[in-house]
Symmetry: D3
Subunit: 320 residues, 6 copies
Amino acid sequence: MSPQVVTLGEAMLRLSAPAGERLEAVESLDVHVAGAEANVAAALASLGVPVAWVSALPDLPLGRRVARALRGAGVDVGFVEWVDQGRIGLFFIEFGATPRPTAVWYDRQTSAFSQMSEFDPTVLDEARFAVSSGVTMALGDGPRRLAESFIGAARERGVSVCLDVNYRERLWAPSAARRVLEPMLGQAKIIVCSRRDAERVFGVDDAEGAEAAALELRERFAPEAAALVLTDGASGCVGISGSSVFVQAAPTARVVDRIGAGDAFVAGLLWGMLSDVGLGESLRYATALGALACTVRGDQALFTPAEIRAAATETVAMIR
Amino acid sequence: MSPQVVTLGEAMLRLSAPAGERLEAVESLDVHVAGAEANVAAALASLGVPVAWVSALPDLPLGRRVARALRGAGVDVGFVEWVDQGRIGLFFIEFGATPRPTAVWYDRQTSAFSQMSEFDPTVLDEARFAVSSGVTMALGDGPRRLAESFIGAARERGVSVCLDVNYRERLWAPSAARRVLEPMLGQAKIIVCSRRDAERVFGVDDAEGAEAAALELRERFAPEAAALVLTDGASGCVGISGSSVFVQAAPTARVVDRIGAGDAFVAGLLWGMLSDVGLGESLRYATALGALACTVRGDQALFTPAEIRAAATETVAMIR
Amino acid sequence: MSPQVVTLGEAMLRLSAPAGERLEAVESLDVHVAGAEANVAAALASLGVPVAWVSALPDLPLGRRVARALRGAGVDVGFVEWVDQGRIGLFFIEFGATPRPTAVWYDRQTSAFSQMSEFDPTVLDEARFAVSSGVTMALGDGPRRLAESFIGAARERGVSVCLDVNYRERLWAPSAARRVLEPMLGQAKIIVCSRRDAERVFGVDDAEGAEAAALELRERFAPEAAALVLTDGASGCVGISGSSVFVQAAPTARVVDRIGAGDAFVAGLLWGMLSDVGLGESLRYATALGALACTVRGDQALFTPAEIRAAATETVAMIR
Amino acid sequence: MSPQVVTLGEAMLRLSAPAGERLEAVESLDVHVAGAEANVAAALASLGVPVAWVSALPDLPLGRRVARALRGAGVDVGFVEWVDQGRIGLFFIEFGATPRPTAVWYDRQTSAFSQMSEFDPTVLDEARFAVSSGVTMALGDGPRRLAESFIGAARERGVSVCLDVNYRERLWAPSAARRVLEPMLGQAKIIVCSRRDAERVFGVDDAEGAEAAALELRERFAPEAAALVLTDGASGCVGISGSSVFVQAAPTARVVDRIGAGDAFVAGLLWGMLSDVGLGESLRYATALGALACTVRGDQALFTPAEIRAAATETVAMIR
Amino acid sequence: MSPQVVTLGEAMLRLSAPAGERLEAVESLDVHVAGAEANVAAALASLGVPVAWVSALPDLPLGRRVARALRGAGVDVGFVEWVDQGRIGLFFIEFGATPRPTAVWYDRQTSAFSQMSEFDPTVLDEARFAVSSGVTMALGDGPRRLAESFIGAARERGVSVCLDVNYRERLWAPSAARRVLEPMLGQAKIIVCSRRDAERVFGVDDAEGAEAAALELRERFAPEAAALVLTDGASGCVGISGSSVFVQAAPTARVVDRIGAGDAFVAGLLWGMLSDVGLGESLRYATALGALACTVRGDQALFTPAEIRAAATETVAMIR
Amino acid sequence: MSPQVVTLGEAMLRLSAPAGERLEAVESLDVHVAGAEANVAAALASLGVPVAWVSALPDLPLGRRVARALRGAGVDVGFVEWVDQGRIGLFFIEFGATPRPTAVWYDRQTSAFSQMSEFDPTVLDEARFAVSSGVTMALGDGPRRLAESFIGAARERGVSVCLDVNYRERLWAPSAARRVLEPMLGQAKIIVCSRRDAERVFGVDDAEGAEAAALELRERFAPEAAALVLTDGASGCVGISGSSVFVQAAPTARVVDRIGAGDAFVAGLLWGMLSDVGLGESLRYATALGALACTVRGDQALFTPAEIRAAATETVAMIR
């Protein structure tokens, strides 16, 4: 089946110490597959959406480890470039417990993806959404140019671009992020950004509340966006579509593993958009899948439509 | 030692995914022994009560797995029928975390127990209590008739019948349950029923509160019951004995694994009744053992008398 | 990609006690996906062959568990029928150590697959091989008729049928197996049969050695087979194609988990046949993949072409 | 059921490092229940023999851990004395791999059993065999006197005493062992002794082979023994009964965990004797159960009659 | 490097059942190294302080297990006495969940340390602090005399003695503790005592609040103490130095494993004192490290200076 | 204590799939510390030799993980340089089973050590041996120059240089290795080289057997070596010292994990040399420790003097 959604980005192996254990004394590491755009793809595939993930992997067991997980979730990995050079990116996690924070260490330099320079644009031929995120732009000039070409190819075909700002302070400075991301926001139809990133990357004034910040972000950086969503972690989000503003609280979640929840949010949002239920309803799915993602170990949120619907809270969105 | 308590029902192997893992991606399953009446027997044996469990098991390793666990807890399994035909019943659990619910899938059809048609009534000769539950009645005509014959044999010997309504919507409809259970309630001396089952199975009006519901249940369906207890999950229970009404709050519990807590409640109740401490005090033990059961992995609540006493909250029961 | 190979059969969850542990005392069970034809499909997919697996699965987490594993290996599961009724078949393993045998207990009755009655024959449109095995025929009249219709559809399209005799004494008697399998052998182009099954099911005289037995099997039951292979466990196999006879020794293997090795053998054989390297060379791959399968836990032999080539022993086949 | 066999001795918790790990770096320890006479009891119970184990345990969770395991295997633990003082004996194991030997460290001083001074002799009223071993005599004056009183009570009731020499160099010197054990051998009807212990404890000349040594041992130390068996580890045993000599080879075994195999041997021997099949046949069961014990983790050999029969090699015993 | 801090006391192996499991059914035990003064040493070493631990260990794998862990944390174990006699002390833990309490069983009698009678006082030559605790005094006359001699040697060298009252009701009675500890408090410069121990051991009136109790404790028992800290579990502590009183709240902690938190508190306190930041600031580190200790499995709190600083709450201490 | 032995080289984290599992499907990875010269240091420290390891580590949890393990074994890590830049080197292992080979994938580029450029030569002031290996030279110009400067500093102080050729084909070509290593061999007093490396790197003719090859290697490349040892894997080694030739068979070993055995061999050799027992006796220890290393999981061979002596086979060395 031709993919309705295409995502572009790096996948890594995530190596985590068991909860309550410290990396500096660790005897075994749990292995999961992660990466913002791969997570979005896996979550959508699990919901039944035909989705392809465009990336590069080393032709080694650990590269196959990644492909097997994504393919198992239902993602089309036929557009992955298999390369002889380059590592698989890694990151290490030590799960925290207050007052000890959860800590992440990236080890993704010289990865196969970071050296990828082109892709087959026909993957986008039948798509409705092309998805990438700020993490990809942060990985260096190569990935950035690749993402630009991906966005360009999408626009040529009339495919809506969905961009998650996803700022990572370990990868680049706010000013660098803004310089790169600002023109991209202008080309995106769907934008997801956390309230905190809006402030530190784009200098949006947060003092007037999330709604005002969302409006400011759209007006200044993304006037063409059909939908702009400002997330606020566990508490919920604000979405703007045209002149409508939606406020959506998130379901309460008992957190097992929060990492990847933001990507699940994006997947839930897109699932709603693909179902043509409107932004308000889509935000319900976004917050529901984000909450569900917190309840399972691993980055990926593999849930069924029935599960996402059951977790979606009653619509409390105010519509203006 | 001759059993003071005899329970009749099916035991299954419970196969559960590790917490935080999903069944659809599971790599290993934890194995526990479960089954309402087997759980009651194990908890009572652990408290030092001579107790026998009447059932059927396939003469296979997994059947022996069940017998070994119960015998290890101290249950007399000498009245178990070992059969060549029939499976061991199974059920699968995925533990939830809000907003993802804990989910259970039964796989118990054509089990050895469901094909059992008779038992040796001499097991009841010296007993004080004969215990079964609505789950057993729900397993088909065979088990229902077996339970009826068990209750009949108990009454012939002057053994008090204890019945836990234990309605399971995956096994039968409320109307079917009522048709079968109503005459049985009339024969039971001790009845345990959840507030929710009282309403959905027996149509008891819950609007006036637990106490009124308990009274209505007894008056309409179990006028001869010496003790009727309406449970209300984690919050506590109401007990009625003659004209006395006892209200007992449950101890606060940090829940590790809630499954089997209701059976522990019944065991705690019977342990009190066997000690002749009266219904009010027995409810303290019931709620205490129910709470303790939530704190350990597995269905079975294997605690000592000292532990149950330490966990029993101060009596807050009001007596009328 | 259209499948080059299509396999039809049941997949089960295999639940095994850790090595050195007994099922009757087991505390956790390792979960793998298994099933003769699913194993063949997974091994071929791993080798890069486009392959589809035709079957039925319950639309439940454990059904999805099976699909996820096969899809992860690269198998096309788009022709699987998802049903609301029926269990997922199970089997339990206790791994032995001399003198304690490895033991298997099936628990597969009333499975979703056993109730499947039709399939979409277009899956075969572009295929070169249609694969099934005697296990499928043994599961009852429904599966047998389904397999007959599968073979019929293959023949209509000129797709070569590959049949692995795979006799299971726990499922049916030798005479019943012969009655069903004999006409099927007549329709198969590629037949794999163990020396032992040739004797006990088809009454082939084994006294004159494997080569004579293979010739007798072909002459009596499968005169049209393009290739007939008689396996002899860890020691190797004899293959007959036209008037050529090939004898192939198996590589020495240190056995971690022998179960599934026969299915890997079939996959290796077909991989060779698809590469058009001739039966002799194909037997080298068959024995190599069978040996490799013994070195990993689980039923499925997921190896790369480079790995199978490295493990293939020097050709020692004699050609007549 | 009244016990047919009664064993007396200490049970310990065995804490073992996972295979391939060293105790000095161990992160988790596997827990098993062990102890020569408890092992014999558990193996017999598993074979269906009514058997009681006489001992003392601390009334603490780890004491209950022991009782639960033995009761689970079917052993009657009603004659265990529960005490407030005294530890549970422990021993630690590091499993070896050539040239690194398996090593055992005892930590059993001041155990509850070592302070036990009396038992209820009525346990022997209906028994056929009373079993103890040299380990018990080695634990100090108290256990030795207890064992003497056990043997005396058995003889008063006409119960045959079975004694396994079971010399432990970590517990006492050969000369001390001989001084204590010599008079006991004179009272035993069934004696099991390893060839090596016969030489180092009793000074039996081994140069003429096992048969001569067995005869010498009986003539010098146990003229009244109805059966004397000299074991020779994995290779087999020699048994003497009256003027008959039986030589029995042991089945080949792939060793997972050899500890406890000697106790399984004794259990197999007694199971044969209880079945009145004669010493020769009993030795087949002894070597079979000893071999089976090596194939499972843990000290205890919990097998069914069908399993022991399947593992018993063809009788190769020579009868004189 | 010469140690700046020297601690004296016993280390044990801590064997704990996995969370949610009961010791009486445990299949494996997690192994950690523990012991009040060893914990203090390990935490300080992890913070970069040169620290030696004075103790005795059996020259056996489990003794080496202890030394390896402490050495790995950076503790100088060159002053440990390796002995041929004596066990390694053990204790067993079952982690609780309300209403089931966490339970600890000691098994430390006849340990190598309890038989230790002298030490090399030159270890103290360059030290600033000599640390021991009431647990050590409670282990018998030998350990008590050893501790007295340790304190004496410290005072001779002008090394400040730090004493943690650390009363253990399983080891001795309050009156015995007071008799032994009272003269020791008079010699200590730094004293840590829980509010509860102040009351039950020293009879300090707690009714007037923590501050009054701390003052009373110092005035009556430790007039020379340069710093006296009264802890109040998770809520915080009160510290007195000269006429200054500091009140420090503890950071909120999500508790993974509370055992050892008190020792981490002492280490944090000493780390502050060694940094000459004053008692108020030191209490911030003490509560921070105590809280961090609760967030990891095991007794030992191995954190970096950066981590302790990040966890230290804002100073809320009031200074008088 | 001043180190008697100083080793220089990289340590890595070794991440291995559980035995029988494939990396491409791995769910958890076991973590060990490894690296040729770190392994030598750890083994010697475990034998009681004062030994320092000179290297660089990133100041991150995984860097501390390495230091903790080595310090725990007793290695002096005070000369390790802690750096802010650079990764911790990794390598991944999939353990094989015939015919599937054990496979290793390095992921060590841009490691902290590979960027290290100087060290504190005073570490060598009191040493007898300075140890490095060909792996270090293969890591690039920086490490090579560092090693040269290490060797130079050793020679200035009269410290004997010990060099293990340790050729790794994944790191460099034989010709490059020879160009770098040849001048170094000329400066080493103790040289260890495998028979295979002698041939492929140095072009030594192996046809005349190990003894002739050893002699040729010494004559051509290392005329000043006081001891040259040619190893031959599991079968043993040949050692040459002056005009004496020693042939030493290795003890039979049941292999749990062969990786690191060569480093253990070097440590055993040096332990003998430090004990001044002569080369012949030292080879016994070398082969013994090499064999013991195979019996435990992980790269490091942490054994006591008693254990190495027990494993050392009888001297079968021929002396000329």
